[in-house]
């Protein structure tokens, strides 16, 4: 070997276990910017052993137009407060239906995304008649709020509540409803940051969109949403997404979407366990 030659030693990498030990002793962490999420799909067949997939990074719908855009949703959830007050944010309805509330005297904001994603609470009328429910606004005009459904506030599953009284009081809250629902589809179209819906979302055989178990540890950088789907029929799961409303018809914000690698085909009795981890830096 000549004197001018330089030996380049390969970079010695350490193991994950050693890296964890090192990190546990250090308070300094170089974190990636922004919010991102990843999803784990585990299949538990009726007969046989659990098949654990690898974690997959979720696509955030940052290029999506309309209020399903992840950044818009986050901004409103964290920053939109009393500054968004408007005169008819509270009043009495003049008509209601299973998915709407009308106030013919209202001037609901319609510029930009209007009130999409916000929560409206509807209650009793002046005679005390009616129930108290809430809805997540999916769209609105100047006088009509369209919600995905009315929710029973005592239900941890997001069960439907009774249609509120046609002349009941209402209040539109600032901020955004949470993105707590997990949904799946057999559609294999590649996910894109411009997506606003999950094409051909499955609504049968045990795979209907549902509220996940939420968990967060104070001071941790993540929270998890988890859902167990048990198949009562055959379904191939290609993609999953996180939503801010219960109904595929209403849609709702969709901040995260991803493909399930090696798409499993589940038959009746098999279980799909989804875990979404959202990292907030």
């Amino acid at each position: 070997m000549g004197a001018a030659e330089k030996i380049i030693e390969p970079v010695q990498k350490i193991s994950v276990k050693d890296a964890i030990r090192r990190a546990a002793k250090s308070s300094k962490v170089a974190r990636a910017e922004g919010t991102h999420s990843h999803m784990l799909a585990e299949v538990i067949p009726l007969k046989g052993r659990k098949r654990k997939d690898v974690w997959r990074h979720n696509l955030t719908t940052d290029s999506a137009t309309g209020y399903t855009n992840r950044r818009d949703f986050q901004s409103k959830a964290m920053g939109m407060g009393p500054s968004f007050a408007f005169a008819t944010a509270t009043g009495n309805a003049t008509a209601t239906s299973a998915t709407s509330l009308t106030n013919t005297g209202a001037s609901f904001p319609t510029a930009g995304q209007g009130l999409a994603g916000q929560i409206v609470v509807a209650s009793r009328n002046s005679s005390g008649t009616g129930v108290t429910v809430y809805g997540i606004i999916v769209s609105n005009t100047a006088t009509v709020l369209t919600v995905d459904q009315w929710y029973d506030p005592t239900s941890a599953t997001g069960a439907a509540g009774t249609t509120p009284n046609a002349t009941g009081a209402y209040v539109v809250l600032p901020g955004q409803g949470p993105a707590s629902w997990l949904g799946v589809t057999a559609d294999a179209t590649a996910s894109a940051a411009t997506d606003t819906t999950l094409l051909s979302e499955i609504t049968t055989n045990g795979f209907a969109r549902a509220v996940g178990t939420y968990a967060h540890t104070a001071a941790a950088t993540t929270y998890t949403l988890q859902k167990t789907f048990t198949a009562s029929g055959t379904a191939t799961i290609n993609r999953c997404a996180v939503f801010g409303a219960s109904s595929p018809t209403g849609g709702g914000v969709m901040p995260f979407i991803n493909a399930v690698p090696s798409p499993p085909t589940l038959v009746s009795g098999d279980t799909l366990q989804l875990t979404v981890t959202v990292t907030i830096n």
Binding site: V11, Q12, K13, I14, S15, V16, K17, D18, A19, I20, A23, A24, V29, A30, R31, A32, G34, H36, H38, L40, L46, K52, V54, W55, R56, H57, T154, S155, A156, T157, N205, G206, A210, V211, G212, T213, Y214, A215, H216, T217, A218, A219, A220, T221, T222, T224, Q226, K227, T228, F229, T230, S232, G233, S268, G269, T271, Q273, T275, T277, T279
Partner: protein, 166 residues
């Protein structure tokens, strides 16, 4: 059902530095998971930190696990046993180790019989659960329980030591 787990440590998920080799065994062991743009996150224990994990379990998820164990394991769980499985199998591995648990609180509004009847129907229709098993499932789902009993069960299920009451 809302469960509040008090801790003296927790798992945080830190970016894997560039000088670290991630192998399949790390993924399978749950030490790492995928992060953005092909990067990885590693599970770092943060001990000696007083904190807590809040877990909100929808009733539909409790029923899903009860039915799942009935279908696959032929085991009939109570509500708190199903909740214990959810926390032990699904939640805890991402948030805390059982040795860091210092207290558990349970806030539970009780079973929802109407939801049970709605949810079990498709299992009956698909033949996954037999009609003769329905009564036992319902009985265990609706059996009386107290928050204190629920806490005791969760300590046992999670393998944690319940603090002594002074």
């Amino acid at each position: 059902m809302r469960v509040h787990v008090s801790l003296n440590g927790f798992y945080d998920w830190d970016p894997v530095p560039p000088d670290v080799l991630v192998e399949d065994k790390d993924v399978k062991a749950g030490r790492v998971k995928a992060a953005a743009d092909g990067a990885w996150l590693m599970r770092v224990p943060k001990k000696g930190v007083v904190t807590s994990t809040d877990i909100h379990i929808p009733e539909g998820e409790i029923l899903a696990v009860q039915f799942q164990d009935c279908v696959k394991e032929n085991v009939v769980l109570s509500r708190i046993e199903a909740a214990g499985h959810i926390i032990a199998r699904q939640t805890a591995p991402h948030h805390f180790h059982r040795s860091w648990i210092t207290d558990i609180q349970v806030e539970d509004d009780g079973p929802l019989p109407d939801l049970f009847n709605t949810e079990i129907q498709r299992f009956l229709d698909a033949g996954l659960i037999q009609p003769e098993d329905r009564e036992e499932l319902f009985s265990r789902y609706t059996e009386a329980s107290t928050n204190e009993a629920a806490v005791d069960h969760l300590f046992t299920r999670l393998g944690a030591k319940k603090p002594e009451v002074m």
